[in-house]
Amino acid sequence: MLIKLTGGRVYDPASGIDGQQLDIYVENGRIVAPPSDGRPVDQEYDLRGKVVMSGAIDMHTHIGGGKGNIARTLLPEDHRMDPVARTSVTRSGNGHAMPSSFIAGYRYAEMGYTACFEPAVLPINARQAHMEMGDTPIVDKGGYVMLGSDDFLLRMLTAQKDQKAINDYVAWTLNAAKGIGIKVVNAGGINAFKFNQRKLDLDEKNSHYDVTPRQILQTLAKAVQELGVKHPLHVHGCNLGVPGNVDTTLDTIQGVEGLPMHLTHIQFHSYGTEGDFKFSSGAAQIAEAINKNPNISADVGQILFGQTVTASGDNMRQHANHRFANPNKWVCMDIECDAGCGVVPFKYKDQNFVNALQWAIGLEIFLLVEDPWRIFLTTDHPNGAPFTSYPHLIRLLMDKSFRNDMLATIHPEAQKMTTLASIDREYTLNEIAIMTRAGAARIIGLQDRGALAEGNWADITVYTENADRQTMFSKPDYVFKDGELVVRDGEVVKVTWGTTHIVKPDYDLSIERDLQHYFDRYLTMKLGNFKISDDEITEDGRGSLSVHPLRGVA
């Protein structure tokens, strides 16, 4: 079927199109050239007066994996307030902070998102992550596989194995767990917590292994680069949430020595110790460092006020932060000599000084980082706020007077500690499209997504222009996923199943000899049973795998 999207104002930064009025043709799921043979169009959508972008991509959102299910189980009261009934096309479920998987997929699609990436896939828990994402409809998905606190890697580093061996292990893990990138969470810290270390600075040694977080980050960043994995090492830094951690973050940027590195939820890592409350904004320094270092990208992890739940692999920091649990219940787990997790409910309050300043710090970072290709719109769902708050966040970025109105309502001492009121910048539609589409696809390494170029998959979102950007981005007129109309007027009209994006770097098979020995000795599963096979993703007839090319490989 040939579809024509007529006359919309197109924002497609990847193709250098900034608001021009253009027609787009779609056939067999892809964007195609205008038919030269005079073939009739089967269906036309009149998009005059509408804004057209490719489908949005959330490059960091906790939508699949064990800690999410712990968060769901922990908070039945949060679901009870947000039940979602079934319709003739959709399944029922529950929403708010950590929605059930079907509802997550529908709600993402209803906001114009067509792909979501789970940033903390524990290799041992990767099956669960893929199964949950397999039950998340419409959107494409993928995961960053967590390394850095796994004993196998720390043993390799202690034994001073060469970079090639590390690369083989990293590549093997990416294949076995079916990821598209590598994530590090509190490098070595989750492991150190198991040895009863309660904090771990960038240059502090694990009490058992002769290894520092700096070494882990350097080694893994190098592995990612040498393997040609396009997504830079995805780093949740040391000392999350600790006042003064801005210095750690700046050291981390220097420490990676020019290698590509993505710093995630950087808002939580941008805190100084100035002021009466010994808590201040480090946003200016962080933004300056990002502006100066083109190898660095970041997503913000904006907090927004209200009830949510934080779910993280960083059980060391989550354990320390449990005293802020609201409601007062929390879970920490040590997991399989692989990693850990911590789940702590949070209620961010605008009249709480720290929370109010966290809110301002996130916005300062958004507005002070100059290059929209290297800063990404996230709330670290659900940790800073549920993803459903994105339209509100977009308005905060695009509308200075709205932002300042909100600023005037937060804790007065926090207002004094932020430069937000003096920042005039307002994001443009083109910049929003970079941050949530073109830039996201590029940083993840997605081929043929995130742009409206001919030959790309037709993931397309159409909005009605509205000066109230929150309203505009809350309810797209149309969302097409792989060329099929899935959302009309902000409601799902058809349920499809997205693909799972992965990379498959090569490795020397000899790494399995060491792994086999290690698994048999120390782990609780056979090596052969650990590896996830392709058919585990595809056998239900809905799932599929899309393998993306590596850098330097055609």
């Binding site: 059930s100 524990l122 198991k194 787990m333």
Partner: protein, 419 residues
């Protein structure tokens, strides 16, 4: 005849995946690494594998059509058992969503003892590999571990190697409450586990005393349930000096009213040890035959563990109201669907309402259900996924034979389509 190795078991819950099984036609024989739980579960003869309607043999199509007819005319069906693999639970939940059914895992009343504690205050737990490599002190509360999982000690405690223990055979094991039923907990050097006995009914008081002592509270008593306070204090001291202590309980064994409070005491004990500067983890031992699988899949599909009701068009959770037996006793359910793909002997409860049974082939009934559809067992008759009792690890089950038995997912989807 062929032999397959490294076979994972969905039966024991502890994720043994090193079984060797000889396959002769449809007959399986465990030839390596079997145990009292797994061997009979794998070797069980298939028995009668024909669908029936009211006791009369029927085709699969007829049985599916009849099941759909029953469900079409119900106001409040209840789906009990819920013993299946991930795909089976997915299909069950899809059918429940469509028919407005209650979904209730067979062992939810046991899991509830943990879930209520978790949902009220949380916990700090670990998984099996952490026990294997770190645990130097295991405190077992009120539970006969080897009765539940015969190979637990062999696989996770008395191992030849542990990454962080020089001599894994030197680990300390303390039983508080029940004494062990066998000698699996005896160290390789012959040293028996320490047993501090008390009656099950005294466990709430004993656990509460431990959680008070760890906080430094003074107890106005010399002994609790016949155990000297000094002996309880010695347990606390050991936990506080262990490198990585683990407190293990089995909710199934805590068969007394409000056992969730005992679980909560133990969880709070573990948290307090951690708050006071030492590492310690809890370990809930429980969940086999698909219990964790049911709770996990229901968790991501509905937001709640596996006792939900779809009657209002969306899932609602109530850990008490939606109990299968309670609903049947009170006449609140008008049809029962029972799903049990692991165990021929786990039969549906007696009831007057029409029953649809998807049971492991060979299941026998005193009273023929309205519809009986024999199904294959995940990990024997078809591939699948099952959760280990520590929840984090899902194991990939293998297909071992082709006996022509459908999977529960296939049958449930067929019923859904026939609606």
């Amino acid at each position: 005849m062929t032999e397959i190795t490294e076979i994972p078991s969905p039966f024991c819950g502890i994720g043994t995946d090193d079984l060797s099984i000889q396959i002769d036609g449809t007959q399986l024989t465990v030839t390596g690494n079997g145990c009292a739980v797994n061997t009979p579960a794998f070797e069980q003869a298939i028995g009668d594998s024909l669908p029936s309607i009211n006791g009369q043999t029927a085709t699969l199509e007829q049985a599916v059509a009849k099941a759909a007819e029953i469900l079409r005319n119900t106001q409040q069906p209840v789906f009990g058992g819920c013993a299946s693999d991930v795909n089976g639970m997915r299909a069950l939940l899809a059918l429940a969503d469509k028919t407005g059914a209650v979904v209730d895992n067979q062992n939810f009343n046991i899991a509830r003892r943990n879930l209520l504690a978790m949902q009220d205050s949380g916990w700090m737990n670990c998984t099996l590999a952490e026990i294997k490599n770190r645990c130097d002190l295991l405190l077992i509360v009120g539970t006969d571990v080897e009765g539940f999982a015969p190979r637990f000690f062999e696989r996770y405690l008395w191992t030849e190697h542990a990454m962080f223990l020089d001599k894994p055979g030197d680990r300390k094991v303390i039983y508080l409450g029940k004494a062990p039923s066998g000698s699996a907990s005896t160290r390789p050097d012959g040293k028996q586990a320490q047993v501090i006995p008390c009656a099950d009914a005294d466990l709430p008081e004993v656990s509460a005393s431990l959680s008070a002592l760890v906080r430094g509270h003074f107890l106005q008593a010399d002994s609790v349930a016949g155990i000297a306070i000094s002996e309880l204090q010695a347990i606390i001291d050991k936990l506080k000096t262990a490198r990585y202590g683990v407190v293990l309980w089995g909710a199934g064994a805590l068969a007394f009213e409000h056992a969730e409070l005992t679980v909560q005491s133990l969880c709070s004990l573990v948290k307090d040890i951690n708050l006071q500067g030492n590492r310690c983890s809890g370990f809930p031992l429980g969940g086999k035959e698909g219990d964790q699988t049911a709770n996990q899949v229901c968790g991501w599909t509905t937001g709640y563990p596996a006792r939900v009701n779809y009657a209002r068009g969306f899932p609602e959770y109530d850990p008490f109201l939606y109990d299968t037996q309670t609903l049947l006793n009170n006449g609140e359910a008008d049809a029962l669907l029972w799903l049990q793909s692991f165990n021929q002997n786990s039969r549906p409860p007696h009831t007057q309402v029409p029953s649809i049974v998807l049971g492991r082939a060979g299941m026998q009934f005193d009273q023929a259900p309205a519809v009986y559809i024999p199904i294959g067992t995940p990990g024997i008759d078809h591939a699948g996924h099952a959760y280990r009792l520590d929840n984090v690890v899902a194991i990939r089950l293998k297909k071992l034979r082709d006996a022509g038995l459908p999977s529960s997912a296939d049958v449930l989807s067929a019923i859904e389509h026939a609606l």
